[in-house]
């Protein structure tokens, strides 16, 4: 049994960690949190140059052509560093959708630029509050143009292209949905930046006023392609969440070792010790479920859908748990702007909803387990 990342993949992980420790310390994250820049441009460019963005993009399309396992270890390090860049939109979603469903022309045109970071992509699917369902997708596609609005769109203000879930046939069902690629720098697009809980990842409302769009994949395939894209992204984002959870746990542990009260390190009090132990349990369960997600993604396993849902539920809970209790271990200091605790808290709660929340994914998990059992 070799249920582990290879030595080369571990080395890549260490390389990414060193790179991010140098180019993305928390001061860089804070610069985006507090400043006017929507993302860290220099870091983004560097990630492109290092080949990290193109890790799972085939060489013929400008990527490094490594694979999903490599992308997973990179994702974990990005999550650990809270990297304020649009990797999850551009690479985990848009590049993956183009790989899966784009025609040759679309792949040749966009994948190399996504791999280098020259182009930023994002997925625009949400219109209403609550889960995305075929019945609440109203944005319409007609004669190669889109009319309607999407909100919120993660990285919507900084993206150059968007893949949009739109309705090509009237009605409320899934059969009427397709995916479209839209270049966002055109007159038919109006973008408004939104205030969010995690300003290190910007979000926008995008209004489409007869914006030019081209079909991605077959007409009517939109909902299926969308759900499959979410599954892949759930695993990759899951690694971001695992990285963040581990870092929050370490922060809490390190603080508990050096903070003294009542004559001893607070980590020697069982209430704190046990709180950190429970965080370790959450993080460990999530990591192990993550390994299965990585396996499923890299082998195209029939269990991918189940693995994705398991990992999403597990990593979401672990990151939220570790981030909120990291604040608790820090006491009053954990609630200050100056301490980094709230950065992890904000990110954990953004990632908890960014691909749809627990209520949706718990549903998917149970449905998928039933389907598996029935088979």
């Amino acid at each position: 049994m070799d249920f582990e990342f290879s030595a080369e993949q571990q080395q890549l992980k260490e390389q990414a960690r060193r790179y991010l420790a140098d180019k993305c310390p928390t001061t860089a994250v804070r610069a985006i949190l507090e400043g006017s820049e929507p993302f860290d441009r220099a870091l983004w460019q560097g990630l492109g140059e290092m080949g990290f963005l193109g890790a799972a993009i085939p060489e013929e399309y400008g990527g490094l052509g490594l694979g999903y396992l490599e992308l997973c270890v990179i994702a974990e390090e990005l999550g650990r560093a809270l990297a304020p860049v649009p990797v999850s939109s551009s690479i985990f979603l848009v590049a993956e959708i183009l790989k899966a469903a784009g025609n040759e022309e679309q792949k040749q045109k966009w994948l190399p630029k996504l791999a280098s970071g020259e182009v930023i992509g994002t997925l625009a699917s949400v219109e209403a509050t609550g889960s995305v369902r075929p019945s609440n997708v109203a944005l319409s596609a007609k004669a190669g143009t889109l009319t309607g609005a999407k909100s919120p769109v993660l990285d919507g203000d900084i993206a150059d292209i968007a893949i949009v879930l739109a309705r090509h046939a009237p009605g409320k069902d899934a059969q009427g949905l397709s995916l479209y690629l839209v270049e966002l720098n055109q007159s038919g697009i109006e973008r408004t930046v939104l205030e969010t809980i995690d300003p290190t990842r910007s979000q926008a409302k995008i209004a489409f006023n007869g914006a030019a769009a081209e079909l991605v994949g077959a007409a009517g395939d939109g909902w299926r392609l969308y759900e499959e894209a979410l599954d892949r992204a759930a695993i990759l984002t899951g690694f971001e969440q695992i990285g963040g959870a581990d870092k929050a746990l370490e922060m809490g542990r390190d603080y508990a070792l050096q903070r003294f009260a009542f004559g001893r390190a607070i980590g020697s009090f069982q209430a704190i010790k046990h709180m950190l132990a429970d965080m370790y349990v959450s993080a460990t369960l999530a990591r192990s479920n993550g390994y299965f997600g990585a396996y499923a993604l890299s082998t195209g396993s029939a269990d991918l859908a189940e693995a994705a849902a398991t990992m999403r539920v597990s990593s979401t809970k672990a990151f939220q748990h570790c981030a909120k209790n990291n604040i608790q271990v820090h006491g009053g200091m954990g609630f200050t702007w100056a301490m980094d605790c709230h950065l992890y808290y904000r990110r954990s709660n953004l990632l908890a909803v960014s691909l749809g929340g627990l209520n949706e994914w718990e549903d998917k998990l149970i449905d998928r387990l039933r389907a598996k059992n029935a088979a």
Partner: protein, 413 residues
């Protein structure tokens, strides 16, 4: 990142599988697959007799206690081979419940610390299932503070004379031998004054009293020692080295991974797929039920894949990482939560525990009544959290009021 055997592992697995297919007691399979809490039931056959028969058969063919050296009854198998054997043995392993302590804890301790003569005589019998061993460690006054034990051993010529009491001794009532930790010097701090022995359970002065458990069953015992004589050649390790010896015992407990503990998800999932709620919908379609099921599914899956990461380490010839310490901690409370939830779904009928009447043969009722023990035995949830905090996360030890204090000066109730 795969689940494949190496060529060597595949060959070993094929050999194990072929032997099991040709030799296992297949007529017992329907009963073994239903094995739940509180032992196995073989439709009228004597479980102990069947267990010993299977164990002897394995021993004669070289498949008992695989990882033990050949001269002690094993075949010198590697840790990964042992895991593969366990996977292949599957449901038949349920027959070996009575041997787990002897094979997993007592045998390795005797092997590491016992005199050669005794090892050659006793270990093969233990491997063959001819002798059953128990572990005499815990005491009424000790609790999780194992080193605070009071059973004393006093030297008298070539013998030691033992007086005291042990508790929670699983299987003492059917064991032939036991390993016993005693206090030989009360004037030094508690860890330094301990010595380990092994003895026959029918030695004069040993009195075994079964304990009735909260769930009505009786698997463990009190064991009283009234001037029991043990020859010095039955000592394991040096005088005063007992704590070091006991760490071997406890460490081996932790190294047994591969099968892993279930956190109880499969049963509650099955149950919810069938159960109709008040409004006619199936429980599995209820949002609240699904949310809880998802949590337990993720724990079950997380434990399974944590176990596989550990097996991968063994396959590489490395020690499993610290992540394995989470198993019982997660499983124990999950089993209890699931049992309570299942009874809740059954409504007032949830209180009925007759297997002929209650859903799923009253499995959840049995689980409800047994699960409190899972959170205590083999290390309480609180001790496990301490171990994770201290050994895995590196947090400072709890403050101890008895550190460095001679045993006979430590405050007690």
């Amino acid at each position: 990142m795969n689940f494949d055997d190496t060529p060597h592992e595949a060959a070993f697995r094929a050999e194990a599988r072929a032997w099991i297919d040709a030799n296992a007691p297949k007529h017992l399979l329907p009963h073994l697959e239903k094995a739940g809490f509180g032992g196995i039931e073989l439709g009228g056959l004597d479980p102990m007799k069947e267990a010993k028969a299977w164990q002897k058969k394995k021993y004669d063919a070289g498949w008992a206690c695989l990882h033990w050296p050949k001269e002690y009854g094993g075949r010198g198998a590697s840790p990964i081979e042992r895991v593969i054997w366990n996977q292949e043995e599957g449901p038949y392993a349920a027959l070996s419940g009575s041997f787990i302590i002897g094979h997993g804890m007592c045998g390795p301790t005797v092997m590491d610390w016992g005199p050669e003569e005794a090892k050659r005589e006793l270990l093969p019998r233990l491997a063959a299932g001819e002798d059953i061993w128990c572990q005499l460690f815990s005491e009424p006054a000790g609790g999780s503070d194992l080193a605070g034990l009071r059973t004393k051993a006093e030297r008298d010529g070539d013998d030691w004379v033992i007086n005291g009491q042990k508790i929670w001794t699983s299987g003492a009532h059917y064991s032939q031998w036991g390993i016993l930790i005693t206090r030989t010097d009360p004037d030094v701090p508690k860890h330094k004054g301990l010595t380990m022995f092994f003895l026959r359970m029918d030695t004069p002065g040993v009195r075994i009293v079964p304990i009735k458990q909260a769930n009505g069953q009786s698997g463990f015992n009190e064991v009283y020692f009234d001037n029991v004589r043990i020859p010095d050649k039955q000592r394991l390790g040096g005088v005063g080295e007992g704590w070091k010896v006991s760490l071997t015992t406890l460490m081996n407990e932790r190294l047994s991974i591969g099968s892993g503990m279930s956190a109880g998800f499969p049963d509650i999932f099955e149950f919810c797929k069938e159960l109709e709620l008040a409004d006619g919908t199936l429980a599995i379609n209820d949002r609240g039920v699904r949310s809880k099921l998802a949590e337990w599914a993720c724990r079950q899956s997380g434990l399974k894949y944590t176990g596989m990461r550990a097996i991968s380490a063994l396959s590489r010839g490395e020690n499993p990482g610290p992540e394995n310490s989470i198993g019982k901690l997660v499983a124990g409370s999950s089993l209890q939560e699931i049992a309570m939830f299942a009874l809740d779904l059954q409504g007032q009928a949830g209180a009925v525990s007759d297997p002929k009447l209650a859903a799923m043969a009253a499995k959840f009722q049995a689980q409800l009544l047994r699960s409190p023990a899972t959170r205590v035995e083999g290390g309480t949830d609180e001790i496990l959290r301490n171990i994770i905090g201290e050994r895995v996360l590196g947090l400072p030890d709890d403050m101890r009021a008895d550190k460095g204090v001679p045993f006979n000066k430590i405050p007690t109730a």
